[in-house]
C-alpha cells in the first residue's frame, strides 16, 4: 500500500525465525539503505506454506514470499498463483550463466521461471575420524564409491548385544539424495511422466534397504534413531559420535564449531556407484526461493528486491551469516566466505561441491508435494518389509501419474486466468 509517507510499502513473508530472522532483517536493512524510497516490511516465521496459499486464494497475498517447502512451487505455478518471471529476468540484465544451473532449475516449472533462489543447500559426506580409527579404517580415506560407503558403514556400526550403540551411516532425512547418487531420474519433462521406478531410483532404494538390513535391520536402526537428540544442538548424533558418517548439508561445519568444537571430522563428495564414475561429485540441492504472487500490489518493487538479492553483496552478506551456499557463482568463489576458522575451510568444501553438473533437485511438477509424500511412504513401506521396492515404486508411479494427467485435461490457460479473476481482486496481472 502507499502509506501516508508516499513511499511504497513492500510486504515480504519469509520463513526464518529467531536468529536467522535477524540475519534476514540485516539483509533487508542493507537494501533499505540503498533504496530509501521503498519500505520493506518483513513478516517472519511463515514456515507453513499453506498459510501463504490461503492468503493468495483470499486475494490478499504478500508482495513477495519465500517458499519454505520448494515442493509447493509446482502446485502453485500450475494453478496460476504465481507471476512468471522470465520477461523480467531478461529485462533486468541478469545472466543465466552467472547462476548455479540447478539453483534456477528448481525455480522453473514447465520451462518458465516462477521463483528466484536466495542461497541454496547442498549435501556432502561427513565422517568422524575417531570412529574410523576405532573401526580400524584409515581416518584420512573417506569412502569414494557407494560400495566403499556400504562396507565402511557396516564396519563402523557397533553393537552391544542386540542393541546398536553406533551406527555407520545416519539414516537419511531426505532419501531422494540417493536417487541422485545412483543417477535416477524422478521426472521426464519431454514426456511429462513421473519415473519413480526408473532403474537408478530402484537401485537406490534396493541399496538403501539392504544397507539398513546389514547395519542391524531397519527396526533396530529406527529404534536407535528415535533416541537421537536435536540436530541443532550439542546432542546431534553425529557430534556425539552416535553415528560415524552422515550425508548432510553445508550448515553443519558451523553447528559443529558451535556445539562440538573438538570433533575430528572430514567433508568429502558424495560417493558414486563404482560402475558409474560419471556420477561422481553429485549433490542434491534444496534451498530458499522467493516468489511473487499474482494479485500482489507491488510486483515491480518486489522484483527489484529479488534482483538485488542476486547481487554479490547480498549473497555474500546473507551466506556469511547463514553459512548456506550462494546461488551466484561469483559469490561462491568469493574469498570472503572462506576466511575465518577451521570450520570455514570445511564449509568451503561444500561451496566447491555445489556447482556440479551432477546436482539434482526435486522436480517442480503440479503434484510435487503429493509425489514426494508418496515416495516417502513407499520407502517406509519397503523398509518395513510391507512391499517390494518394485511394487512400491510402481504404485507411486501409477498414483502420481494419474493425478498429474489431470492437470493436462484440466483448465486451459484461459480458464485459469478466469479462475484468478474470481479469486484475486480483479487487479491487472503483473
Amino acid at each position: 500500500m502507499h502509506a501516508r509517507d508516499g513511499r511504497v510499502h513492500l510486504t515480504v513473508w519469509s520463513m526464518w525465525s529467531g536468529a536467522e530472522e535477524q540475519n534476514f532483517l540485516k539483509v533487508l536493512a542493507r537494501y533499505q539503505q540503498l533504496h530509501p524510497e521503498v519500505v520493506v516490511e518483513n513478516l517472519g516465521a511463515v514456515n507453513d506454506d499453506t498459510k501463504t496459499v490461503r492468503a493468495i486464494v483470499a486475494g490478499v497475498p504478500p508482495d513477495l514470499f519465500s517458499l519454505s517447502d520448494p515442493l509447493y512451487l509446482g502446485p502453485l505455478a500450475a494453478n496460476g498463483a504465481l507471476v512468471p518471471l522470465d520477461d523480467r529476468f531478461r529485462a533486468s540484465g541478469l545472466k543465466e550463466s552467472d547462476f548455479i544451473p540447478a539453483s534456477l532449475r528448481q525455480c522453473r516449472f514447465r520451462n518458465r521461471l516462477y521463483a528466484m533462489p536466495f542461497l541454496i543447500d547442498c549435501n556432502a559426506l561427513m565422517w568422524n575420524k575417531q570412529a574410523f580409527r576405532d573401526a580400524g579404517l584409515d581416518p584420512e580415506k573417506p569412502p569414494k564409491t557407494v560400495e566403499e560407503l556400504e562396507e565402511a558403514a557396516v564396519r563402523l556400526t557397533k553393537r552391544d548385544g542386540d542393541r546398536i550403540v553406533r551406527l555407520g551411516l545416519m539414516p537419511m532425512a531426505d532419501e531422494n539424495v540417493f536417487t541422485q547418487v545412483f543417477g535416477g531420474v524422478l521426472y521426464r519433462d519431454d514426456t511429462d511422466q513421473v519415473t519413480p521406478d526408473d532403474p537408478g531410483n530402484l537401485a537406490a532404494l534396493k541399496w538403501y534397504a539392504s544397507l539398513m538390513e546389514k547395519m542391524g535391520g531397519y527396526q533396530k536402526v529406527n529404534e536407535f534413531n528415535s533416541g537421537f537428540g536435536q540436530a541443532q544442538s550439542a546432542n546431534n548424533p553425529f557430534f556425539v559420535g552416535k553415528v560415524a558418517m552422515m550425508i548432510n548439508g553445508e550448515w553443519n561445519p558451523w553447528w559443529c564449531h558451535k556445539y562440538a568444537p573438538k570433533l575430528e571430522y572430514g567433508v568429502a563428495p558424495l560417493p558414486y556407484p563404482a560402475a558409474h564414475p560419471e556420477l561422481a561429485r553429485s549433490t542434491w540441492l534444496g534451498g530458499n526461493m522467493f516468489c511473487i504472487a499474482r494479485g500482489g500490489k507491488h510486483p515491480k518493487e518486489a522484483w527489484d528486491l529479488l534482483v538485488w538479492m542476486q547481487s554479490e553483496e547480498a549473497q555474500i552478506l546473507f551466506a556469511g551469516m547463514m553459512n548456506n551456499v550462494p546461488n551466484l557463482r561469483s559469490a561462491l568463489r568469493s574469498p570472503v566466505l572462506r576466511q575465518g576458522g577451521d570450520y570455514k575451510k570445511k564449509y568451503a568444501i561444500f561451496l566447491d561441491l555445489a556447482d556440479t553438473p551432477n546436482a539434482g533437485c526435486f522436480p517442480a511438477i503440479p503434484v510435487s508435494n503429493l509425489y514426494s509424500a508418496e515416495l516417502n511412504t513407499a520407502r517406509d513401506l519397503v523398509l518395513n518389509g510391507e512391499k517390494t521396492p518394485e511394487k512400491a515404486l510402481r504404485d507411486v508411479r501409477i498414483r502420481v501419474q494419474r493425478e498429474l494427467d489431470r492437470y493436462k485435461v484440466a483448465a486451459s490457460p484461459t480458464d485459469r486466468r478466469l479462475a484468478l479473476s474470481t479469486h484475486v481482486s480483479g487487479r491487472p496481472l503483473n
Binding site: 502446485p75 508435494n369 513401506l381 510391507e386 484440466a410 479462475a419
Partner: protein, 306 residues
C-alpha cells in the same frame, strides 16, 4: 377483515417483537449461516468436483467417491486404522467408570485423588503427545524401562507398524479423567434410597453396582459412548504431531482424518478431501444411529416406566 384473518396475520407489535428477537439472535444466525451451513453445503458440492484450491472447482461427478472406495493403498487402510482405535472405547468406558466408582468413596483426601486422576485431561494434547513420544521412546522411554524392570518383553512402540496403534490407545487412556469426571457427577446423583432399600434386602456390593448404579448412570454412559464414537472417527492430532513420516511407520497410523487433512492441505485435492469428509459424516451418523437405536434397550431414565 374477519377475526380469523386477523389471527393469521400477526399484529404490528408481534412483528416488531419478532424482528427484535431475530435481531438479538442474529449474531448466531449469521455465524451459523456463513460459517457453518455455507461451508457444509459448499463441501458437498466440492466433493463432486476436482478442486485444486487455487483454481476454481470443476464438476467431475462421483469420480472422487469411486476413487475413494477403490483406493487399497491409503483410503481403506486409513479406515481400518481408525476402526482399530474403536478397541479403545470399551476399555476407556470400563476404566473410567471403575475409576469413578473408586473415587466416589468417602475417604480422607479424596479431593486430592480426584484432582490427580483428572489432571492429565487438562494437559493440552500437543504437550501430552510430545510427552508420550518420549515416554514411549524405545531406548530411553519410561514405559520400556518399566517393562524391562518387570522382565516383560519391550517393543519399539511408535517405531513398529504393529505396536504403533496400541501406543496411541495407551496414550489416550492416560486422559480418561475427562470421562471419569462426568461419571463421578452422575454417581453423585444416584438416589440414596435405592441403595438403602437394597441394603435392607441384603444385596451385595456387586449386585448394587449392577442393578442400581449402572442403570442409574446409563444415560451418561450413552452420552460418553456417542462422544467417544465421534471423537474416534475424528482422531487426528496425536498422530499428526508425533509420527514421522506422518502416518508412519508403514502407514500404520495414517488415520482417516489425517489422510483427509493431507489431501486437503498438502496435496491440493480439496474435492477428494471433501468427499472423504462426507463419507466420514455418513459413517459417524450410522454408528451414532446404531447406538441411539440400541439405547432403548439399555439406557434407563429415572421415572421411566419399564
Amino acid at each position: 377483515m374477519t377475526a380469523r384473518a386477523r389471527k393469521v396475520r400477526s399484529t404490528a407489535s408481534e412483528r416488531r417483537n419478532l424482528l427484535k428477537g431475530l435481531g438479538f439472535i442474529s449474531p448466531w444466525i449469521i455465524g451459523f449461516l456463513v460459517l457453518t451451513l455455507y461451508p457444509i453445503c459448499a463441501s458437498l458440492y466440492y466433493s463432486f468436483c476436482d478442486y485444486k484450491v487455487t483454481a476454481p472447482p470443476h464438476w467431475v461427478g462421483i469420480r472422487n467417491y469411486v476413487e475413494l472406495f477403490t483406493d487399497q493403498d491409503y483410503f481403506l487402510p486409513s479406515l481400518k486404522n481408525t476402526a482399530f482405535l474403536f478397541i479403545e472405547l470399551p476399555i476407556s468406558l470400563v476404566l473410567s467408570i471403575a475409576l469413578a466408582l473408586l473415587l466416589n468413596q468417602k475417604l480422607r483426601g479424596m479431593a486430592l485423588f480426584r484432582t490427580l486422576y483428572y489432571l492429565p485431561s487438562v494437559v493440552p494434547t500437543v504437550a501430552s503427545s510430545i510427552l508420550w513420544l518420549w515416554l514411549l521412546n524405545p531406548q530411553y522411554g519410561l514405559v520400556n524401562k518399566t517393562l524391562e524392570m518387570l522382565h516383560i518383553p519391550t517393543t519399539p512402540w511408535l517405531q513398529s507398524p504393529i505396536w504403533s496403534k496400541p501406543a496411541f490407545i495407551l496414550l489416550d487412556l492416560w486422559t480418561i479423567g475427562g470421562g471419569m469426571v462426568i461419571y463421578l457427577a452422575a454417581l453423585q446423583g444416584v438416589p440414596r434410597h435405592l441403595y438403602e432399600a437394597a441394603d435392607l434386602d441384603g444385596a451385595s456390593a456387586w449386585r448394587k453396582t449392577w442393578h442400581i448404579t449402572l442403570p442409574s448412570i446409563s444415560p451418561v454412559i450413552f452420552f460418553n459412548a456417542v462422544l467417544g464414537i465421534i471423537g474416534t472417527f475424528q482422531y487426528f492430532t496425536q498422530s499428526f504431531l508425533i509420527t514421522s513420516p506422518v502416518g508412519g511407520p508403514a502407514n500404520s497410523t495414517l488415520f482417516y482424518a489425517l489422510y483427509l487433512y493431507q489431501n486437503a492441505f498438502n496435496y491440493f485435492r480439496m474435492g477428494y478431501a471433501a468427499a472423504m469428509a462426507w463419507v466420514l459424516f455418513v459413517l459417524t451418523l450410522l454408528a451414532t444411529l446404531v447406538v441411539f437405536k440400541s439405547s432403548a434397550r439399555w439406557v434407563y431414565y429415572e421415572g421411566e416406566a419399564r
